[in-house]
């Protein structure tokens, strides 16, 4: 019994079908608890007022925006090395989810920045690198759409993902160099003295868990859809020949 058995599409669909209801239940549970706890049962920040509550959507979505790309990177590597189709399809399935997460992070950031910094947008390193990340997602999805042959598309996009990752990291440091930021530094690191206060921290943790689960559920669902769509296409093609 090895992990690679799940690379079999039938096995993948059967397992995820069994797991998905549980993941959905947990997702809804976490998000509802986390958001209600965060929105109604935490005090207002003494300087930021109630806008601090944007954090419960902003931080988890930003976290998932980056992790979705990391997941695509790993899936692309698996596709290149071991050529499991499920892996390529999972990378494809994750891209739109990641793009939406990036957009949510940017939008909530704008809503938060307007009252706090007095501006919707600033060319701050973090904001800028997220915008660039969003462009990378767009290019990646556009390349998937543009190529007709499935295997070629999977190969090309996975290489784009690898090269893009290197350049995304480069851009991150380049924009750091280019402009100083308004955005605060990390407040959630495990080893720092000045972390966010526990009152905000625990509901935030629940929200992050909810977003992670939501991402997993969506990726599983979208991968299943992709597998089924490909099967349908294969069946139709066979019928056309007969």
């Amino acid at each position: 019994m090895s992990l690679w058995e799940y690379a079999n599409p039938v096995k993948f669909i059967r397992t995820t079908d069994k797991v998905l209801p549980w993941i959905w239940t947990l997702t809804v549970l976490c998000l509802v608890t986390g958001l209600i706890w965060g929105f109604f049962f935490t005090p207002n920040d003494f300087r930021q007022g109630s806008t601090v509550k944007i954090i419960y959507i902003h931080v988890p979505s930003a976290l998932m925006a980056i992790n979705a790309w990391l997941m695509m990177l790993v899936a692309s590597l698996i596709w290149i090395v071991r050529r499991h189709h499920v892996s390529a399809l999972a990378a494809r399935a994750a891209a739109p989810v990641g793009a939406v997460m990036t957009m949510i992070a940017l939008a909530t950031g704008a809503f938060w920045g307007q009252p706090m910094w007095g501006t919707w947008w600033a060319w701050d390193p973090r904001l800028t690198s997220f915008l660039i990340l969003f462009l990378f997602y767009l290019g990646y999805m556009a390349l998937w759409e543009a190529i007709e042959n499935d295997d070629t598309a999977a190969d090309l996009t996975s290489i784009l993902c690898l090269v893009g990752s290197v350049f995304a990291v480069l851009s991150r440091y380049a924009v750091n160099f280019w402009n100083q930021g308004l955005h605060q530094g990390a407040t959630l690191s495990l080893d720092k003295e000045e972390n966010i206060s526990d009152v905000f921290w625990f509901p935030l943790l629940v929200c992050i868990a909810g977003f992670v689960l939501l991402f997993i559920a969506l990726v599983f669902l979208r991968t299943q859809t992709e597998i089924r769509a490909r099967r349908t296409r294969a069946l139709l093609a066979r019928e056309g020949q007969a």
Binding site: I132, L138, A146, L156, I159, L160, V163, G164, F167, A174
Partner: protein
């Protein structure tokens, strides 16, 4: 390799459109900017280094599809692929030829266009140096984009979408060198980083471009 380089250069010069078009585009972009932002000298000289860099970048981008698309269409790319030369070598030579026909003229034309934008005097040498160091990276990255989209009909727009985000670090450091040069600040750090990007990209990216091209030729 030398034969391929000479062939590409000859094609670019004789087929027309390769050499001149990029330059003409660079010229027209720099001419359009004052119409857009107004003719005040102090404003123009402030933004001149950035405009020159963006103009060069766009001119580079426009000529990218000529690197591989023509050879793809008439089938000579398939012949090249069966040649004893490794694919990495072909891609590198192609990028180099693109740099000679597009990047180098842009570097040489930049100071002339700087006059139009009333570029500050100390900035001239830094604009030229930063472009000379940075444009090879643009050519090599562009070759990767061209290799990715070579099999797609009307892939030009898609290629821009793929290549432009990859240009970000080069543009940031290149424009930073030019800007600091214009303000008389020290340019060593961004210049070294720009050179680092250029060398790193030249050393590594041809492998990715070659892999992509092999997939497309499959």
């Amino acid at each position: 390799m030398r034969a391929l380089l000479l062939r590409d250069l000859r094609l670019a010069i004789r087929a027309g459109g390769g050499f001149g078009l990029g330059l003409a585009f660079f010229l027209i972009v720099t001419v359009l900017v004052p119409f857009g932002v107004g003719p005040q000298t102090e404003l123009l000289s402030r933004i001149a280094p950035g405009i020159l860099w963006i103009g060069a970048l766009l001119a580079c981008l426009l000529s990218l599809d000529r690197i591989l698309a023509l050879d793809w269409e008439d089938g000579s790319l398939d012949l090249l692929a069966t040649a004893p030369l490794p694919m990495e070598g072909i891609v590198t030579v192609k990028a180099f030829a693109h740099w000679i026909t597009t990047g180098l003229p842009l570097v040489l034309a930049a100071p002339v266009l700087g006059v139009l934008l009333s570029l500050p005097i100390p900035a001239y040498q830094w604009v030229v140096i930063s472009l000379a160091v940075g444009t090879p990276a643009l050519s090599v990255i562009g070759t990767f984009g061209a290799a990715l989209t070579v099999g797609i009909k009307r892939g030009g727009l898609l290629m821009s979408l793929l290549v432009l985000p990859l240009y970000v670090p080069t543009l940031i450091f290149g424009a930073e060198v030019a800007r600091r040069g214009a303000e008389g600040l020290t340019v060593q750090t961004p210049l070294l980083l720009l050179a680092g990007i250029s060398f790193g990209v030249i050393a590594l990216l041809p492998f990715a471009s070659a892999a992509v091209l092999r997939i497309n030729l499959r």
